[in-house]
Amino acid sequence: MISSAVLRGIGSLARTRTAFTAPLAVRCYSHAKVETDEEFDSRWVTYFSKPDLDTWELRKGMNTLIGYDLVPEPKILDSALRACRRLNDLASAIRILEAVKDKSGPHKEIYPYVIQELRPTLQELGISTPEELGIHKV
């Protein structure tokens, strides 16, 4: 006749043992919410759309964005180019286009696509691409 206390003890021991032998499918990932691509894009579009964005914020935003392991979406770049326009900075606008081309690396089809998407904005604001100015090669 085993006492109830001992039975309770065995029961809890059995419980802990099942926790140790949990199936591999249950991994210990962080519980933080993963940002979707759309959220990322809209966050950056909002950043550059700030009406009173100053030059430091533009530079910081752009340098950070280029630091990420991705090529920014045309809509983010559109927002950034308009920010350059508000700050009367044509050189930075051209520099941003150069940076996008550089960021695409071996994927040569990305840059023409981005320029194609940005063409209306480039025409509206009067921004020339690096190719039009001849600085795309030495």
Partner: protein, 173 residues
Amino acid sequence: MLASRALVRGLQSGFWRRVSTSSAAWAAHTHDIDVVDCSIPQYNNRLDTPLPDVPFVRNLSAEQKKLKEKEKGSWTQLTKEEKLALYRLTHELSYAEMRQGSKEWMTVLGGVFIFLGFTGLLVWWQRVYVYGDVPHTLSEESVAQQTQRMIDMRVNPVHGFSHKWDYEKKQWK
């Protein structure tokens, strides 16, 4: 000898420094600024930093100031040359210029080979004029006597030296 070698190296490094930077960059490098003030933001050419902290040209001439004023208006009014001028005011090197390599490696490799060759000449001179004669035991006659003795002693008879000698025919197998 050592002093002249140091002099040659000093001249060569001065030569290389001028060769490896273009004359325009060299002029920009040496004008006005003796010591770079690291306590204030500096301009830099980096692929991962498209917009540097400060523009490349800080002290604008009257003409450049006028161009900057024109920049505040519509950019469709600017000519290609003006746009290019604005770009060059803010940035020293374009991305393509940053990415281009130089031919410096050829100079370096050539210099290495020159010095190796020179060292080879020195070593040769040393071999001829500094080292004495080689021991007499390395003469042909002495080596023949030594080999005969090794065969007589049956050195390494199983797999090695004497194994290769045919004792009946008195010749190498």
